[in-house]
């Protein structure tokens, strides 16, 4: 193609930038709400964002509920989960093994981290705990930089999921996201039932309530603490592994997820699993529908919602009043 063809016409006059981006576009939102195709697409889009967020936030809330520690380094487990999954996928080519590596790797890491470092600051000041966590945010980021390099990476979508998206009631739903939502749902159900019905769940809840008494009954609370921390880390790692095929991997990738997870736990109530689920789904839906109705205020909507919850119910939607 010649240069003159690239420059098709010089005669047309300048046109002003006629499409100013509107900060509020309620027509688009109303139009979407009245169309089943849009409704399905945006709802699943919200569920995907929400479910990944739930996996990270539920670990955060579990650790807080039982260990009474605000794990500021939780985002690092999400990051490690993604990197472990990518490496396992590159080595084995198996998606299932990649997910397993992401979850198991971060569980082990969580256990070591809790036993070696966090267990030393349980009695300490909150500031001390925050400092230790923050130090590890930086250390973990640098560890990733040393092992995998500073540049961003991509795991790539496994070929089994490189298929045309499904069309449900006119809406577009990628099969991979159905799997993602399914896995997160199973986790939510297993966690919910496990904690309320199983013997281990009961012990964990008892340890959260009165660790001294549980210890006096001859139960190893250190083991419970380590186990809960490992479980929390594993859930974040699983979220990272599930996100790895669609999100780029970079040192520090856990940070933005961590901030949103904190919003989720604040909305849902610190320590509540149901709260984390509802909070995460609400945030996801706010993002997906907010981007239509309030394109320039989507982030702001999340914070606005958090403020409203905090003002009307300071303990969060499902949080318990402090004893």
């Amino acid at each position: 193609m010649t240069v003159s063809a690239v420059f098709v016409s010089f005669s047309a006059p300048y046109q002003a930038h006629d499409h100013e981006s509107a900060s509020v576009d309620l027509d688009a939102l109303a139009g979407c709400l009245s169309s089943s195709a849009c409704l399905v697409t945006q709802t699943t889009s919200g569920l995907i964002i929400g479910m990944l967020l739930f996996l990270v936030a539920v670990g955060l809330t579990l650790i807080f509920g039982v260990l009474k520690i605000v794990n500021f380094s939780h985002g690092a487990f999400y990051m490690f989960g993604a990197y472990f999954a990518m490496t396992a996928y590159q080595l084995t080519g198996s998606f299932a093994l990649a997910m397993l590596a992401g979850a198991a790797g971060t569980a082990i890491l969580g256990l070591i981290f809790e036993r070696v470092f966090m267990s030393r600051v349980y009695g300490a000041d909150v500031l001390m705990q925050l400092l230790v966590c923050y130090a590890f945010v930086l250390i973990f980021d640098d560890v990733v930089r040393i092992i995998w390099g500073p540049e961003f990476k991509s795991m790539g979508m496994p070929s089994a999921f490189q298929v045309m998206p499904l069309f449900i009631a006119g809406g577009v739903v990628p099969p991979y996201y159905l799997l993602l939502i399914g896995v997160a749902l199973v986790v939510a159900i297993v966690l919910g039932i496990g904690l309320s019905r199983s013997r281990i769940g009961k012990v964990v809840r008892a340890a959260a309530h009165n660790p001294g008494m549980v210890s006096a009954l001859g139960i190893n609370t250190g083991l419970i603490y380590g186990g809960v921390f490992a479980l929390g880390g594993m859930l974040a790692g699983l979220a990272g592994a599930l996100a790895a095929p669609v999100r780029s991997l970079t040192p520090g990738m856990g940070f933005s997820v961590l901030i949103e997870s904190f919003i989720v736990t604040v909305i849902g109530g610190m320590g509540s699993i149901l709260g984390a689920l509802i909070g995460a789904l609400l945030l996801g839906l706010i993002r997906s529908f907010g981007s239509l109705g309030f394109p320039l205020f989507t982030e702001g909507l999340m914070y606005l919602f958090m403020v409203i919850v905090l003002v009307s119910k300071p303990t969060g939607l499902f949080g318990k009043e402090a004893a």
């Binding site: 193609m1 240069v3 003159s4 063809a5 690239v6 420059f7 098709v8 016409s9 010089f10 047309a12 006059p13 300048y14 046109q15 930038h17 499409h19 981006s21 979407c32 195709a37 849009c38 697409t41 945006q42 889009s45 995907i48 964002i49 990944l52 500073p150 540049e151 961003f152 990476k153 991509s154 795991m155 790539g156 979508m157 999921f161 490189q162 045309m164 998206p165 577009v172 990628p174 099969p175 991979y176 996201y177 996100a243 095929p245 669609v246 999100r247 780029s248 970079t250 520090g252 990738m253 933005s256 997820v257 993002r287 997906s288 907010g290 981007s291 239509l292 394109p295 320039l296 989507t298």
Partner: protein, 419 residues
């Protein structure tokens, strides 16, 4: 008996400090004039999200500096590079730049900062009067705006307005040929994203007046998830999409849009796609994405360019970036200017650099020029093409025409009140 001293700084050390301070303020050039080696300072981004680009800048500079030193140096003086991390923060970039000159005794600066940092370093260069070559900032106003003009600063970088002119007209020709009237845009929500998208659509509409932008998305910079943006664009059903997302944001976006089969539903124009940092990372690169050239060793399709790309890869085990070729070109300019001036005096070099044309692997016609009136790089290879999922990634790049770019750039400068 040991003497005890009150904590704090003693009178003696205060005097010593003041003396040292006065020395470094008053007489840095005395020390410089006697040095056999010439120190060139370089603030760039070596940590954080953009570290890869800063590292590739350092690599390219060192590749060229080694050549210059092996050939005898700059007017007989060996180059010693002093490269420091600015972490991508403008105030840190300014502090580092000042320190490089005042404390380390650097005589020139190569400014490897992104836009925000480069304006800060520019002010340091204005203040200290030191020779400064910007090598990474694409913001047009850095050299187009006469208020920014200083005699000792040059920009050896591709420029936003050039890219917009070439990209807008290329996209318009495709739009006309394929009847693409409904367009959507999706770009990061900060100065670069807003300006570049605005200029691109300006020229797109100028060349194809019946084009209409029906949907705009402005995701945050470094946003991890674009699902809501992807589905929003799908709802709008545009025929074409423009994006100036870059780096990891672009690859995330592609991975997420891919599973919605977005690339089969519209033509995609992603100006920053054809950069090895993105091309080699995306595992399922869709065929047929339109992109501007950033650095690609097959455009310009000359043995010199291919050899340079291969030499870089052989030394650093990865392909160069857009920032690499710009930094390499800066060293080539400085070396040629020192040869012509037979001196390393900053003022003399600046005089020679004005309007200097040098042979360069990245030139559209084998040469590039440092334009005299606004101290900016012109004549570099610039074009658009479509991607394929394996090397050479962008097999055919359609070159933009510099004559036309100059005409439209002059018009744009006028409309901005720069001339």
């Amino acid at each position: 008996m040991t003497r005890t001293r009150k904590p704090g700084i003693s009178r003696r050390s205060t005097l010593a400090l003041m003396g040292a301070g006065a020395m470094s303020v008053a007489a840095p050039w005395v020390a410089r004039a006697q040095a056999k080696t010439i120190k060139i300072g370089m603030p760039t981004i070596l940590s954080g999200r953009v570290a890869q680009l800063g590292t590739s800048s350092r690599n390219a500079v060192m590749l060229e500096v080694d050549k210059v030193n092996a050939a005898g140096g700059l007017a007989g003086r060996q180059i010693e590079m002093v490269i420091r991390d600015s972490k991508g923060q403008p105030q840190e970039a300014a502090r580092v730049a000042r320190e490089l000159v005042n404390t380390d005794g650097c005589e020139w600066l190569i400014d490897g900062e992104a836009s925000s940092g480069s304006f800060a370093v520019h002010e340091v260069a204005r203040d200290l009067g030191v020779l400064c070559v910007h090598t990474c900032s694409e913001a047009s106003s850095l050299t187009a705006d006469p208020k920014q003009h200083i005699p000792n600063a040059f920009r050896c970088v591709r420029q936003g307005i050039h890219d917009s002119i070439v990209g807008g007209s290329y996209a318009a020709s495709i739009a006309k040929a394929k009847g693409l009237k409904k367009w959507a845009t999706c770009s990061p929500d900060y100065a670069y994203g807003r300006d570049t998208t605005g200029e691109f659509t300006l020229y797109l509409k100028r060349f194809a007046p019946d084009v209409e932008v029906i949907s705009e998305s402005w995701p945050k910079l470094f946003q991890p998830d674009y699902t809501e943006v992807v589905t929003k664009i799908l709802q709008a059903k545009p025929q074409a999409l423009y994006s100036c997302l870059w780096g990891g944001d672009l690859t995330s976006y592609i991975d997420q849009a891919n599973i919605y089969a977005m690339f089969s539903q519209m033509e995609v124009f992603a100006v920053n796609m054809a950069d090895y940092t993105a091309l080699t990372v995306v595992k399922n690169l869709p065929k047929g994405i339109h992109s501007g050239n950033r650095y690609i060793k097959t455009f310009p399709a000359t043995p010199e360019n291919a050899a340079w790309g291969d030499a870089y890869k052989a030394k650093y085990n990865e392909y160069p970036t857009n920032w690499s070729w710009q930094n390499a070109t800066a060293v080539m300019f400085l070396s040629e200017a020192a040869k012509k001036a037979n001196s390393t005096d900053g003022k003399k070099i600046a005089e020679v650099l004005k309007g200097l044309t040098i042979k360069c692997p990245f030139g559209a016609d084998g040469t590039v020029t440092m334009r005299a009136d606004d101290h900016t790089l012109v004549g570099y290879a610039i074009g658009w093409g479509t991607t394929i999922p394996q090397e050479p990634y962008v097999p055919e790049v359609k070159a933009g025409d510099w004559k036309a770019i100059f005409e439209l750039e002059a018009e744009w400068k006028k409309s901005k009140g720069y001339t």
